[in-house]
Each structure stands twice: as structure tokens, then as C-alpha cells.
Symmetry: D2
Subunit: 349 residues, 4 copies
């Protein structure tokens, strides 16, 4: 038996004893060392995420640990390997999965068909152990900690957006909207991939300041000045070559359209509180391409770990709070209410 954070009814999250999972064919059993909390976990907690199991299940999709046992047929890993995980395993038999779009699996949430979104549609990793298919497991470079490994999804989501946008930012001016954990990693990703100038926009001065430390060349507080005007000033009226919309606010898509260059690209890595309004004529006038990114597709987690290991992504910079798994309620409170300017909150197991 093991300790696990189990969700029952909405907001009924309890630390309980559950059986240690058995790794199936192609799976490994992980001894979870560290987990972290993401905005999606909060939706899960409120029972607001479509596709959640109806009954009690183990929460958590951001975690890292050590291979404790191998399921049948696994030789990609060995017991003792330190590993990071990604959330999504495709069903591998719908046309999207066969073509490599596994975060857009057409059998999303269908456990019988082989799809897994750990901690979202099936048992996850807020526990002492978790069973993960090898498709979702990445060897952890020696110079990275488990805490850093937990940030891999947060990095891989904007990286997947960048991949969808073409993956080539060398010499570009990029606007990153929203200095939350994803935006702050997006800033670093853009610099790591050769962007010349990264403009970071947001509303919270302390978060913007972290962005500056992580490489943002220009900060724009949208409460204090017009983002579109500032971007126009910086770019000689042309607009940003690319935009990464990581803010998810009601006007952020509209601002993205106002700030992007003719012929430019917008990557979207955010969830919205409701429908948003935007002037599509701007998109048409400027021949804009918009890439909404679901999850951490394209094996972006592996690429992110490589960038972390090379010192190009400082994952520690967004980890603000540490708890034990037993203190999961306080950890969520800290995260949700941004206690002490919380960005990412990790829990040691």
C-alpha cells in the first residue's frame, strides 16, 4: 500500500492509503520523489475538467521520480533511473496518434483504448508510486533535480506551441503575454532558441521583474501603458514577429492580434475563463497564423529537459514554495491564493 492524494467529490481531496499500482506492458513503476501543482489540478479539484473519472482517483500530473520496477517488455529504462514524466499518452490507434498528434488523441480519456492523461483522466502522481507508460517517461539528466524535473510540463507546453509555430525564432522579436509560470518559461525558451528581443507583458510588477531576471528584454505593464503602442515603438511600427499568448485574459487574444506583425504568428498556451472577443479582421488583414497548443505534444518534454540541462532554462526560478505531500491542502491554498507571490508549488513525497 502507498500514500496518495485521492479526489472524491468536488473539493474533497484526501491523503489516503491505496494499493501500489502494477506496471502493465510497456509501463514502468515510479517511486515518486517530487510533485507539483498546476492550474489544471485546481480545475480537477473542483471537478470542472471534462473527462475526469467519475469515482475517486489519484490526482497529479506533474511529478518526477525513480524507476522502481519494469512492466513486461520494457528495456528502455532500468530500475534506479531518475526520470521526468509527461502527462499524455495517446491511444496509438486513432488517426491523430498514428500521425503523431498524441495530445489531440481522438480517444481522449478512453482508458480502454489506451489513452492516458495521468492525474486528469486516470490515476496520477500525487502518490508514493505511479505507473507510467514508457512513452511518457524521460531520463533525467544527472545535473537536474526532481524539483526541476517537475517543471518539465510547464516548459514543454510553450515549447510545443513554438514547435507548432515552426520552431524557428532566431533573430526575432517575440512578445510573451502573461508572466505566470508558463510565460516565464516561454521567455527563457525564446531566448534559448535565439530570439533577439523578448517583450514580456503582464500586470504584476513582481512577476514581470522575475521575467527580466530570466531574460526578458522589455517589460510592459499593461495596466500602465498600451501594449500595442509599446510594441509598435520597439519594432518600428512593424509589430512582433511572433507572439506567445500565455495570459488567458479576456482581451489577450485581441492584444496579440494588435501586436503581431503582418504575416506573423501567434501561439496560444492558455485557458480562458470564457469566450473571448477579437477582431478577426486584424487577423485577415495581416495574414496571421494562430497555433493553439494542447499540452506538451511533440515530445517537447524531452527537448525541454535538454535545454534545462544545458542551463538555458532556469526551472528553479519559478519554484517558490515547497511542501510535503501530506500538506497538500496547504500547498493548494498557497498556489490558488498566490500566498507569498506563489508561482509554482512543489510537494516532496
Amino acid at each position: 500500500m502507498m500514500k496518495a492524494v485521492v479526489l472524491h467529490e468536488a473539493d474533497q481531496m484526501r491523503v489516503e492509503r491505496r494499493p501500489v499500482p502494477e506496471p502493465g506492458p510497456g509501463e514502468v513503476l515510479l517511486k515518486v520523489n517530487v510533485t507539483s501543482i498546476c492550474g489544471t489540478d485546481v480545475k480537477v479539484l473542483h471537478r470542472k475538467l471534462p473527462g475526469q473519472p467519475a469515482g475517486p482517483f489519484i490526482m497529479g500530473h506533474e511529478y518526477a521520480g525513480t524507476v522502481a520496477a519494469l512492466g513486461p517488455g520494457v528495456d528502455e529504462f532500468k530500475v534506479g533511473d531518475r526520470v521526468a514524466v509527461e502527462v499524455h499518452k495517446g491511444c496509438e490507434r486513432c488517426e491523430n496518434c498514428i500521425k503523431g498528434w498524441y495530445t489531440s488523441c481522438l480517444n481522449y480519456g478512453n482508458v480502454a483504448k489506451g489513452h492516458r492523461a495521468k492525474g486528469l483522466t486516470c490515476d496520477g502522481g500525487f502518490a508514493e508510486y505511479a505507473a507510467n507508460h514508457v512513452n511518457t517517461v524521460y531520463k533525467l539528466p544527472d545535473n537536474l533535480t526532481f524539483e526541476q524535473a517537475c517543471m518539465v510540463t510547464t516548459a514543454a507546453s510553450p515549447l510545443w506551441a513554438i514547435d507548432l509555430m515552426g520552431g524557428y525564432l532566431a533573430g526575432e522579436t517575440v512578445l510573451v503575454q502573461g508572466p505566470g509560470p508558463i510565460g516565464l518559461l516561454a521567455v527563457q525558451l525564446c531566448k534559448a532558441l535565439g530570439a533577439e528581443c523578448v517583450i514580456l507583458s503582464g500586470t504584476r510588477p513582481e512577476r514581470l521583474a522575475i521575467g527580466a531576471r530570466l531574460g526578458a528584454d522589455v517589460l510592459v505593464n499593461v495596466r500602465e501603458e498600451s501594449l500595442a503602442r509599446r510594441v509598435a515603438d520597439i519594432t518600428g511600427g512593424k509589430g512582433a514577429d511572433s507572439v506567445l499568448e500565455c495570459a488567458g485574459g479576456p482581451t489577450s487574444m485581441q492584444e496579440a492580434l494588435e501586436c503581431v506583425k503582418r504575416g506573423g504568428r501567434i501561439g496560444v498556451v492558455a485557458w480562458y475563463a470564457g469566450p473571448v472577443e477579437m477582431d478577426m479582421n486584424l487577423a485577415v488583414r495581416s495574414n496571421v497564423r494562430i497555433y493553439a497548443a494542447r499540452g506538451e505534444g511533440g515530445m517537447s518534454s524531452g527537448r525541454s529537459l535538454a535545454l534545462m540541462s544545458a542551463g538555458k532554462l532556469d526551472a528553479n526560478a519559478i519554484i517558490t514554495h515547497h511542501f510535503a505531500l501530506d500538506d497538500v491542502h496547504e500547498a493548494f491554498h498557497t498556489y490558488v491564493d498566490r500566498v507569498g507571490n506563489a508561482l509554482k508549488v512543489v510537494m516532496r513525497v
Copy 2:
């Protein structure tokens, strides 16, 4: 001197005598044979299109004719060549033009820098003669009429969207929204490029019926049934592989998002009456890519002519009314008020 339709104040369009233009370096003089009216001309007429010349100018961006004289340095054409034209010539010196994105020219409307949007930002082709840069001129295949040639921009705009979307529709199910002239050519383009199933949605039964004759496999009258439900039924719940949004209605982007498959693409070839509302979470959930297409980029006019000449695009099917250039006011009235179910209205010069 020649006859020309000159716009003065808003809605003050007059047939007048104007000097025949002199073809400059790289330009040809065209004897215009046929012109046609596009929705953008109506905006021009109301002086609502940004970038219009402030003073009087010759309207018209859809026309076809015969090469009457060659400007300095032109050997790509010879006098007597029957030709079609496209609207946009880039400045050829901004970074977008150098990279081939000439409909997204950063010097849009800047005549001094070399940009031309004929009939929109400078003199156009509602006239007996027009001077066009060779970049905007395409030889007309022998089996095409000047009337058909006038439809080339109407075809090339959705084709540019398709090009942006990857250009590869073989075996796909495509939803085309809006059975106007662009949508009706989009239906044919999709079939010409190997789409397996084209669903055409709209509100006017007579236009939908034309779509059926032009190859649409399924018609959906959105006044009578739910588009999203119907598309789900047809596709076994997966959604359309691709969507071409040619409707421009207040809810058509939202419908596109509801109808597109996870991992699917939406091309946008429409102008909107105002900002539109859409549930971006659908885009993010489904990893949707949205390609807004400006004009007839990528030399899509030449590709469109080839498809017309091969009999794969029936341009005549969307031409409903014929006038003489002198009857330009009646031609516009017919077009704007959809007299006699008008689709495209051509004027012989």
C-alpha cells in the same frame, strides 16, 4: 484618353475621361476587356477601406484584358497576350516581401516604395486601360474567357488559405462555411485537390444548391439544423479535418471551432462586420491551427488559372450578371442588393 470609373467622395463614382496610363519599368499596359465587382469594391465605394487614395482614383481590382504595350525591360509578355491579373504587388524591399509574403507587405499602400493594390490603394482596372507590373500579370490559357479570368482573385484567395493550411487535402473531409462566390470556389478547390467529402454550410437554399452542382457532397442550412451536430454525425464524432471559413458571420468562427477535428486546421477567407466572440478553449483543447489569409498570396492566381483551364474550377457558375462598364451603377446595385440572386457581376469594357 480613356473611359474610367473614378471614385470621388464616398459613394461618388463616375464614368469619366482619364489619360491612358503609361507603363513604367517592369509594367505592361493592358487593354481591359472585362472587369468584375467584389465585396471589397463596395467598401472602397463607401470610402471605408483603410489605405485608399484620398483623392479621386480609378476603382476596380478584378479585371482581365490584352497586353497593349510593354514598359521598359519587359520581355515576359508580348503585345496581344491575353492575361489575367492579381491585385497585390509587394514593395519587394520589406522583409515580408523579400521572404515572399507580398500580400502582407510592410509597406502596404506605400506607392512610393513600390507597393500596389490595384483599385484599392492606387488606380485600378474599371477602365479601358490599366498599367500592371509583370508580377501581377498571368498569361490566360487559351480555353479561358476574360469573364472567367476575372474570377481568378475570387478563386485565388481561398487557394491561398489552402496553401497556408499546408495545401494537402487528399482524402479529407472539409467544411466550407458560406456559399458566396469565395465559398463556392472553395468547394471546387477542395474537390480539385482531392478532398473526399466537402460539407457546405450557409443560409440561402439557392446558393447551397449551386454548391451542390459544383461538387459539395453535403449541404447544411444552418437555419434549419445544428452545423456542429451534423458535422459530428458525418464524421463519426471526429469533426472536419479542415474548415474553410468563408462566411464572415458573427458566429462563424465559433462554429468553425465547434466543427473542426482535434488537431485540425481552419482557414479564414472572410471579412467581418465587427469583432467576433469565440471560445478559445475549444481551440486549445483541440490543438487547432487557424490561418487567416490575406488576399491571393503565394501566386495562387497562377495556380487557379491552371485549375480553371483543366476544367476543375467552373468560374462561370458564379457569374450571374453581365453589364457594360457604362452601367457601373446598375452593376453595383445588382451586386449589393443581390438582385436576381446575384453572385458575381461582370462588366464588359
Copy 3:
């Protein structure tokens, strides 16, 4: 028990009794109705294909049939469905498969890891029954025969090359080298996707003549004239926009480079008798992109069936001979020695 064509030592192919296979998880059992012979089968027969099973195994990778039983967890098909098959199923756990490049599986030939190349690295379909994973099975449109269905791989290989090349041929001039089965289907694919002019080159007049019937606009017998000169003549000196190299001769890559336009693309769908010599400076001078296509990736089989069903691919035109499975030796003899100008040879089961 069932009848099957089993390969023992090189060139020792025998019709024998073998157990009917049991469909595993995700697999269907097919009652094979028709099979056909491909050039790769000849290599297999000579025991020259790397990755073949060392012991006796059932040959055949081109076949079509009827679903006879469902393995565990299959609801994508039902008993009685008429289906076509593709050769390759990826392991689904290497990075290539996860990203959708299943014909380039990094566990190629590793049956234990889940890779299958039916009839090449494991039991195939020259038999009364075969077990196929759902990833390799496509519903057969009602208007297609099993014979046509057997041609799906022959069509899907050049279509995969076209997909790799961007998938967008509208209005282009395409050179197809080699009027064998693949080249003859390539001609039709190019026309089906909107190519304006298809030039077909080869050495056998009777095969070139078939190409003309299938849509080739220009035939070039390379024994009689210079291919490069002819292509230059046709294209005003520019060269072909795209080339599909389906010939596999010692000079065909060099000819492709001589014929392709600056900035053009070459797709390669051929196997070569040995290393070939080419002037890479031509490639560099002209910024050429070369796409070698392995198998029928990208689910091109499904796309091919859609084109066949729509009447855009005439698969029957390349089927020249019909045998019963019992006459497999005569069927191979006919195919290998091109008896009666044999193109594709099918065997009814």
C-alpha cells in the same frame, strides 16, 4: 488450418498448410480475398531484404479481404467489413513512432516491441487468413474491388512522397520518372492533386503509352531524347517544379537534378541496384530539396482509397495478370520476367 505461401530458404517458396492466426489485442483477423506481388516480394523471395525472419514465414504484404474476427478491444471494425491493408505498423514507443513517423520506426523489425512489416519482417498475407493490427486496416469504399484495394500500397508510396514534399502540386509541372506501377500511379496522383502538366519519362513505349492514357501530358523516351533538354523546352528553361523519381536507375537521380527547377523538390520512391552518382553541386546551386519516402507513411493508404473511390486513381489500369494463389510460382514468373508486359500481378485466394 489454412493455405499459405511460405518462404523457406532463398527462392524456396511453397504453398503449405499453416494454422489460422489468432488476432491479438487491437488486431482483426482477415479472410484474405486477393493479394498482389510487389518488387519487394522478389527481394524477399531471394532472401535479400534485411530484417526478414530467419525461419519459414508467410510472404505477402499487398492484400485485401474481409474482417472475419475481432481481437480483444477492437470496435473500429466489425465482422464482414471489406478492408484494405497497409504494410507498416510502428512500435508506437520509439520517438519516431510517437511523432508519427511509423514507417521510419526505430524498432524496425522488432516484433517484440510491436513493430510489424507484414510479409517482410513477420507473417504476411499470401494466405487464406492474416491478422492485422487496426492501425494497418482501412475500410474499403463500396465501389472498390479487392483487386483495386491491393493496389493501395503502390499508390500510397508515391503519395507519401508527395506528402513529404508538401502535398501541394496545384498548377505545377511535375516530372515523373519511371512508368512502372508506382510511376503510373504517381502520374494519376499528380493530376488528381491539381498538377497542370505531368511529364512521364521512361524507356518502354508500351508503358509510356499507358501513362498517356492515365493522364500524362508529355511522354519522354529517354532512349530517344535528352530528358533534361525536353523538360527545359517544356518549361521555358526553368525546369520542373517537382520531380517524382520512381525509376531507380543508375542515372535517374542525376537526371532528376538536371530537370528540377531552382528551388524545386525531388521525391524519391524507388530502390536502387547499387550506389548512384550525382552532381550534388547541381542540388546546391539550385537549392533543391530531396525527400526519400519510405513506404506508405502518413496514413497515405486511406487517402489513396479516397482518391480511388472518387475515380481519380485508376488502379485497374496497372493490373495486367490474374492468378490463383496456388499458382504463385507462375504468378512470380510472370511478374519478374514481365511476361506479356506484366505490370501488377494479382492472386485470388
Copy 4:
């Protein structure tokens, strides 16, 4: 009048007095400050480069300087701007240029049509002054010297190859063949764009050693060990995700094919002494894509300058010798005969 290096007959290069050029429309006059020698200049010197002017002309395509005068219509630069240049200006009226493929201009060498390859097909920059179209001029960041600016073409050529290959190397293992100036900059580009592991192969230990200083993670001396075996060892048998072939040797394409992963990409940035032999079956087996890169397309020079300015490309590391323009013969001798392990040789004007 000005001083200039004029080529007469083959190998007849003289420092002479020539008139200062007059900048035409869209051009600027540059006071050249520094120039450098490239392998192509040596071909030019021997009168071996196709497209050279028949009569005497000014050599040199790598140079940097200061804007001295503006031609008609230029407002993109001002007198006194420090600038770098690129070699190619397209004709802007062939279909390749209109679509952005200006280094593959279909009017290559046609000065009347507007094409320019400075110092190759028309007067270049081994002179006190040169006239350059604005399309070929880039503002020099303040922190870069003219010497560094001269290296921009050497960097932009492999960067164009990377762009063609998709531009996205994050986390990849890349093999760079050839530790010449281009290969040494390619190593840095790959690291600057996030490659995890760069393997540099070559024959000269001292050049390989420079590669190590510039970021190569692994050095392979192909005289001492099998490149394919070493790459297999490093990659667990998979092969390199990408290869940049900058060696141009008789076996380097074959080695590239042996080293690249299934589904991998090869960029080619080299000129060859003659036709090369390669096993195309390897390419087909592994679904390899090969991108031959002509020149510094895609405005890669601007992107390169941004990477240099950010400290990610150390251009000085490949500059080994400095001369005055008057010593052009000694400079060429040093470069051609690799005197003192010469890599790049610059000449101050």
C-alpha cells in the same frame, strides 16, 4: 575614383583605379571598411564560376562598411550607418523571387532583370566603395566590428540550411561535417538554437580543436575512426537527428546518409570537386530529407547578426589573418594555401 581589386583574365587580379559607383534607385553607396575572402572567390579568380561577367569586374562578396550616400527612394538607412551585406538580390519578378526564394532566382546573373550576386555576377566589394541594394544591407549592431560583419555570409549559409531543415534543433543531436569556416559557425549555430549534442567531424586536428572551443560536444577525426560507428555509439544506435554537411568531400554525402537517424534531415552547405557517389537506398530506407542550401537565403544574414550580437556566434574565432586590400595577392595566397592554418582572411580597406 577609388581603389578596387579588378579581375581580368583568369588569375589576373589587379588593384586598380575605378570610378566610384553611383547608387541607383533603392541602393546605398557603401564606404567599404573591411572585406574577406571566401572559397567562391577562388573559383571566381580562376574564372571557373558560371555566370561571371566576361570582362573585367570588381571581385568580392564579403564586405562591410558605412553608408556614404543614399540612392533615390531610400529611407531605410541613413548616411553613417554601419552595415553588413549579403550577396544575393533577387530579380523580384520571377516566380521564385516573388515567393521569397531569392537565392534561387530564375534570372540568376541577369543584371538587366535586376538580379545581383555582388562580386560574382557584377561588381563587388573588394574596393573602397560599393553600391548595394537595400535588400542586401543590414544594420550592424553596435557591439559588432566590421571584421565580424564580414563573417555574416559564412554564418548565414548554414543558417539558411537550418531554416530549410525546419529551423528547430532544440534538444537534438546534430552532426556537423567539416571544420572549415562554415562548419565552425554551423557548430555554434546549432548550439545557439538549442541542440543538445553537436558532433563535429573532420580530418585536421587543429581545426577540430577550434570546434571544441566553439561548443562542439564530440570531435571525430574521420582519419582515425569510423564516423558512422561513433555516431551510432553516441546515439544508442539511432543516428543523428540532423546532419549539416559542410565538408564537400567525395564521401561526405555517403557518410551523412550512414549517420543520420531514420526520419532525419541532412542540410548541405558545401561545394564538391565533382560528382559524388551515394547509396540512395539508405536514404529511402530511412525516409531521409536532404536540403541543399544555396547561399544565405531567407534573410539569414539578419538573423545571424542578431545571434552574433547576443554573443552566441563568435565570428572572431574563425578570423585568423588580417591584411590591407593592397596586399590582396598575399591574402589570397594565405587563404588558398592555408598558410599558418588560415581559416578566414580579412582585408582592411
